[in-house]
């Protein structure tokens, strides 16, 4: 029986769990993600994306399924797995006062699930204050310690970043930390294993290649290049220098065979440089076409840290 990675999104109230889930549900990542949430009220799903609602379940056009949790996590998991047996991942949004490790341990028991790692969200403005709270101080510190990766939200000044990292590492020495906005949906499968969850997150790992050029490109050229890409490519993302519109960045986004090209922000003073990243599962070996774009490096932006 195929097992689906079970990924826990924890963190205290207001840390940004729902925002992250909204992003994951709205992102065009091509993954079929099942999400267990506490309350639909906070989930902000674009009405156009909703294909149908049936009791505690909402199905989305992009293949994702959202399930409202009732009294028990177990029945939510069962509902989800029964309705959507071919998910790529199951995400659970914990309550703000849950111990994420306790929730994550379900994955080791529940038929159909495999451990997928634990993300804990932390509000940069609030976390240090909460850690001193007489009611929840020990809880929020324990939540950080149970994380495989801490995602920091609401950082107002980049200058604060080192001190926030230092503080979190002082509470949870081994944990990997990143800012939430740097977090892409694919990284869900790349949550580093830690001493808290010895089982490696998921079998899916990715390789990436970056294609760059300083030449301007015709829209037709780029479109035919996209079509020529091998089918193993899972995700594509980047900007290019469009000869037809030299003022603006042009943006490529794509998951699976769905790709879109759109106008982006003005180049301004930045160098007009085409830079496109393609990502594929490590288990596959795509053959790239020769042509307009050179392969710059074997950049591997999303590789698991050792």
């Amino acid at each position: 029986m195929a097992e689906v990675p079970f990924i826990v999104i924890g963190g205290y109230l207001g840390a940004g769990k729902t925002t992250l889930i909204n992003r994951i549900l709205g992102d065009d990542h091509g993954l079929r993600v099942g999400v267990l949430v506490n309350d639909f009220g906070d989930i902000n799903i674009d009405a156009k994306l909703i294909q149908g609602q049936d009791g505690p379940l909402i199905s989305l056009a992009n293949g994702c399924v959202c399930c409202r949790l009732g009294n028990e996590l177990g029945s939510g998991i069962e509902t989800l797995l029964n309705v959507a047996p071919t998910l790529d991942a199951v995400l659970v949004e914990t309550s703000g006062v849950a111990y994420p490790a306790k929730i994550a341990s379900y994955a080791k028991t529940w038929p159909g699930l495999a451990p997928g790692g634990t993300l804990v969200m932390a509000d940069a403005n609030r976390i240090q204050h909460l850690a001193l709270d007489k009611f929840v101080g020990p809880l929020v510190i324990e939540q950080l310690r149970q994380a495989d990766r801490v995602l920091v939200t609401k950082l107002e000044k980049d200058n604060d970043w080192p001190s926030v990292q230092r503080w979190i590492n002082a509470q949870a020495p081994d944990v990997s930390i990143m800012q939430s906005h740097e977090f892409a949906s694919q990284l869900l499968f790349e949550i580093p294993a830690s001493n808290h969850s010895p089982v490696v997150s998921a079998d899916v790992t990715f390789e990436a290649k970056t294609f760059t050029t300083s030449d301007s490109l015709d829209l037709d050229d780029i479109e035919s290049w996209l079509v020529s890409l091998p089918p193993e490519i899972h995700r594509i993302k980047g900007i290019f220098y469009n000869a037809g519109d030299p003022k603006h960045r042009w943006v490529i986004q794509g998951v699976g065979r769905q790709r879109t090209i759109s106008t982006g922000e003005a180049w301004g003073k930045s160098p007009k440089q085409t830079e496109i990243v393609v990502i594929w599962p490590t288990s596959l070996t795509p053959k790239f076409p020769d042509g307009i774009l050179e392969d710059s490096t074997g950049l591997q932006p999303n590789r698991k840290s050792p």
Partner: protein
């Protein structure tokens, strides 16, 4: 149906629990209501003006106000009671006396008997297995009883269960999905912790099915009657599912033969879940009183929770916490707790707060302090439910803020010794359920069973409260014992007060409902030590006698 005839109950002694008029030997009633409490002599002004009938069936008994358990869970009882008990201790159930089974050989002998007794197409659920008495348990041993009939052996603690092949097949649990999983030992048929949660999801369609749930509730009616209750507080309607529970409650507990009333206190969180938010929940709650019947009442009370289960050591503790350093649990974020409490406080509800640890209690008290500052209320009946761990200083705050206490004193009996050893140490473990201090501080203090957490027996609870004897027979912190009189008040008038029904029930006086518990012996004669052994002969609910074993 009204009648002009009065009924006069006579007794060897009537304990009224009315401090101003404490004892009597006769009670005049009409249409289920007390007209006067006194003697046949003093009742004459009534008896001379109205046709009457003397009911002397309890003339040699002691009549007390009908017992009130202000906090139990009919829904949990409905799940447990249909199971067959095989237990190391003796259980008096209305339909059977369960004899102690204390060896592995006897356990399986009894299991064979139950297998032979039960209809062939029904799954067999047992409860009470414990390895200390009953030895190893696994699928192979159960298959030896029957491979085909589903057999489910539920552990005494509720925290694990075992299944035979028949049960696994019935539930569709296959090696393919369950083998190699943690907390499921597929080979042994053992399911625990998360594995138990998995098994329960599979079992729920059966154990919460209409038929079985109603059978469980009918058994609860018998259990409650045998315990001498005439009023129950369902202190968290919606533990499983509000609508399902309400349907069952209406079908069974509202039956004209049910000898007690049930005060229904919905869980705010459960209602919000079904109604889609706390605003909608409040609107829904405001409408519940329209459902009131003679036996089912929604008197604008609400149940909130702060910290985790006492039996699981998930109570939130102040310093120095648990010996092993583990942390307790919040059932809701503290900032959400005050937000929810404020809605109900401002809407005039009487709020009951489940608090097991002293830090959970601190949150409940800080919240009450804030709410009193924002919008003062007198006679608000904010009640601390369970009251496991507390500090003496918190008792003073409870009193100062005008709150009440409804305590599970059975904790002292079952857990004080083990929690001293494996939990929090002697000093704090011995002071659990600090009810003596509460009464001394002038706090209205009730005691409850939280059934199925403790036996549904008010007299047994009153015995624990007045003796503070634990399972080992040791007296634990006698400083916190209640006097006999205080203990009786805690299962009658003070329990009525906690449910906001003291004008109607809880003592015997002119104008109140004719609810009695009829005892074979006088509690004041046998003393606190003898409370648990007093036999209950009958109850009277709204003037109608319901004999026990009669």
């Amino acid at each position: 149906m009204g009648t002009d005839e009065l009924t006069v109950f006579t007794a060897r002694k009537v304990i009224t629990m009315n401090r101003s008029w404490p004892y009597a030997t006769a009670i005049a009633t009409k249409n289920g209501r007390i007209l006067e409490v006194g003697t046949l002599e003093t009742l004459k002004p009534w008896l001379e003006s109205h046709p009457h009938r003397i009911n002397d069936q309890f003339a040699d008994k002691v009549v007390a106000p009908g017992f009130i358990d202000p906090h139990l869970h009919p829904s949990m009882a409905a799940v447990l009671l249909p199971m067959r008990f095989i237990t190391a201790t003796r259980w008096e159930l209305p339909w059977e006396t369960v004899q102690p089974v204390t060896t592995p050989v006897d356990f399986f002998r009894r299991l064979h008997e139950l297998h032979a007794e039960q209809a062939p197409d029904e799954p067999l659920f047992t409860w009470g297995y414990h390895q200390l008495w009953h030895g190893p348990m696994n699928r192979t041993l159960l298959n030896a009883v029957s491979v085909d009939r589903p057999i489910i052996v539920w552990h005494r603690s509720f925290h694990e269960l075992y299944m035979n092949d028949g049960a696994m097949g019935w539930l569709g649990i296959t090696a393919n999905e369950a083998e190699g999983k943690q907390q499921i030992d597929f080979g042994a048929g053992r399911f625990y912790e998360n594995g138990l949660a998995y098994a329960i999801v599979k079992l729920n369609p059966y154990i919460l099915s209409n038929e079985r749930y109603r059978d469980g509730l009918r058994r609860l009616v018998e259990v409650a009657h045998h315990g001498g209750h005439t009023t129950l507080g369902d202190m968290a309607v919606g533990l499983f599912n509000f609508d399902m529970e309400w349907q069952g409650t209406k079908d069974v507990l509202d039956d004209v033969n049910t000898p007690f009333r049930t005060v229904l206190v919905p869980s705010a969180a459960s209602v919000a879940l079904i109604q889609g938010g706390h605003d909608q929940a409040l609107t829904f709650m405001d409408g519940l009183a329209e459902r009131d019947t003679e036996r089912l009442l929604f008197p604008k009370h609400v149940k909130l929770f702060t910290d985790g289960a006492f039996f699981s050591q998930l109570a939130q503790l102040k310093e120095p916490g648990y010996i092993d350093g583990h942390l307790g649990e919040w059932l809701v974020a503290p900032e959400q707790f005050i937000d929810i409490a404020r809605r109900y406080w401002n809407a005039g509800y009487k709020i009951h707060v489940h608090c097991t640890g002293d830090l959970g209690l601190e949150l409940a008290l800080d919240t009450l302090d804030t709410l009193q500052w924002e919008r003062p209320r007198f006679d608000h009946r904010y009640t601390i439910e369970h009251f496991g761990f507390s500090t003496p200083e918190q008792v003073a705050r409870i009193a100062a803020l005008g709150a009440l206490v409804s305590a599970n004193v059975y904790y002292v009996h079952e857990l004080s010794a083990i929690y001293a050893q494996q939990g929090i140490g002697y000093e704090r473990a011995h002071q659990m359920a600090r009810v003596g201090s509460c009464v001394r501080a002038g706090i209205r203090t009730a005691i409850h069973s939280d059934f199925t957490m403790a036996p549904a027996s008010p007299l047994n609870n009153a015995w624990v409260a007045s003796t503070r004897k634990n399972m080992e027979g040791d007296v634990v912190c006698p400083e916190e014992a209640l006097t006999l009189d205080q203990a009786l008040a805690a299962i009658t008038i003070d329990a009525a007060y906690v449910l906001g029904m003291e004008d109607e029930i809880g003592s015997l006086r002119a104008g109140k409902s004719a609810d009695f518990t009829v005892l074979d012996a006088d509690p004041y004669a046998v003393g606190g030590e003898g409370l648990k052994d007093i036999a209950i002969a009958a109850t009277v609910f709204k003037g109608t006698p319901y004999l026990i074993n009669g």
